[in-house]
């Protein structure tokens, strides 16, 4: 291979760095504004590095809003949904990857098709169903559906199960194991990486989720962070940019730190949905 000229390398780095700045600029700006006073935020010209550092914004976020309550609710949603979807989706994916049965192709296509149905297209009947069950304004409509497997996660599990040699199941069947034993004792232990991947993706998803809790949760003490954040520090007349940015910083740090340390796993999961089925 011939060596690239230095000028090409420099230009390529320059392009990469400029694009990287564009991509992380919103994050940088949140970080910088979260340390400014309200006056600092409206200072002209805008300062990337604040002249005066106001850590007090972070104290105010915790003492003046319901931050801790919102945080607790978000954690309940993350834990509930992640456990429920890991159990249900891993079970549902098993026959799709490792068994032959009548209607397999049909069931699998149906799962793929439901991945494409927008949540807003089915939300009205779901809302009516949950209101009949008297589940509105509770975590139930947000967590119970996860017990019935999410198509996206089923697909990820299936893709992973298919990489395990099928002869393992066959040998175990001959030894007298039933399908459930094979699933619990062989497939689940061998699939630890995909459990981690889906656990991570589900946690980030439920940390960020806005639409469903916005619809099902009314009272402030049950709101998760994203729904609570919409109305905290912002009234009809005044927007407390300083506090809002400090809160935003606290909202973006957990998923970004999680991504930083588990980049390989998460990228693998996100990409898998794009690879050939």
């Amino acid at each position: 291979m011939k060596l690239k000229p230095k000028i090409t390398i420099s230009l390529q780095y320059l392009l990469l760095i400029s694009v990287a700045i564009i991509m992380i600029f919103p994050i940088l700006w949140i970080a910088s504004s979260s340390l400014k006073s309200l006056i600092g935020i409206s200072a002209y010209p805008p300062q990337l590095i604040p002249k005066e550092i106001h850590f007090s914004n972070y104290v105010d976020v915790f003492t003046r809003g319901n931050m801790l309550v919102y945080l607790k609710n978000t954690l309940i949603l993350i834990i509930g949904n992640t456990f429920a979807t890991l159990i249900s989706s891993s079970i549902v994916a098993y026959p799709l990857a490792r068994m032959n049965f009548v209607g397999k192709k049909f069931m699998f296509s149906l799962i793929l098709v439901t991945m494409m149905v927008p949540a807003t297209a089915t939300i009205i009947p779901q809302y009516i169903l949950f209101s009949k069950l008297r589940w509105l304004n509770s975590f139930l409509p947000l967590i119970v559906p996860a017990c019935f497997a999410f198509p996206y996660n089923v697909f990820l599990f299936r893709q992973f199960y298919r990489t395990i040699p099928i002869s393992i199941d066959e040998a175990a069947l001959i030894d007298g194991c039933n399908r459930w034993d094979i699933f619990i004792k062989i497939i689940v232990p061998m699939s630890r990486p995909v459990f981690v991947i889906i656990g991570l993706l589900s946690s980030v998803f439920w940390w960020n989720e806005l639409f469903l809790p916005l619809i099902y949760i009314d009272s402030d003490r049950l709101k998760p962070l994203m729904v609570g954040a919409l109305t905290t520090f912002k009234t009809l007349f005044i927007q407390r940019w300083d506090l809002q940015m400090a809160m935003s910083m606290l909202m973006i740090l957990p998923p970004i730190i999680l991504y930083l340390f588990t980049q390989k796993y998460m990228a693998e999961g996100i990409k898998t949905t794009g690879m050939k089925g």
Partner: protein, 306 residues
Amino acid sequence: MEQDGLLINKNKRKVRENITAYAFLSPWIIGFILFSGGPIIASFLLSLSKWNMISAPRFIWLGNFIEMFSAGSNFWNILKVTLIFTIFSVIATLTWSFFLAMLLNFKLKGIGIFRFFFFAPAVMPTVALAFAFQLLYNKEIGVINYILYMFGISDGPNWLMDNRLVIPSIIFVCLYTYTTGQMMLIFDASLKEVPKELYEACSIDGASYFQKFYYITLPYISPVILFNLVIATINAFNGSFSIIYPLTFGGPGDASRVISLAIYDSGFKTFRMGYASALATVLFIIVASVAWLQFKLSNKFVYYEN
């Protein structure tokens, strides 16, 4: 006799295998009936009714659709905004994610750091992204207008409050969302799978960078482009709510009110369940026909290896 016994045994085993398989599938089947298949049918039925969830629902045939399609209804504006937003956000996010992936395929040291930076905004909550852009787009104190000022444009626009600028402004924010990051990672992986020999053979024949791109890269990854096109389109219908709602709430006026926001408003602000279901039915039909169209197109234009 013995053979018959074996055959019966074999059939028995087959039946048992089928029952087992469906037992494993049962959580999803129940979930499908309760949370997707059932609601889609229920939505069709509800769209033929008038119901505010307090008094009993009333059957009004196509009343909701007649109201929707009448001249004075804001449905036509919603449809227009939805289509414009969908088409241009798909083009923008698809192009940008492809561009990012091309950059990540430079043969340079430290490319992993750039992959992290390019993807980082994708994991941040859309609510925080919306807050950041409300500040960046602000007419008086926003950085974007300050940059315009440095280039000599002193009276920068009020990006999110301007009827004509609000949709392009939202589409720009879409370049930072999860879908764009996801498509970037998928493109990045698929670009690495293009066989090196093809490029080398072309170089020997004296092909330029753009010829290589056009004759090798594009045809080779065309199935992935189609796949990402589907992801981007579905997400423009599905995920648009979580970015547009915190950013503009559909405003100014109705200028950024896409159909998912309209469903939310009629369903959960004014509790017109029938009308909201009629809108949901329209959305479902649009998504279904777009998906069908894209798969039809795929047979025509996409190059598959096998």
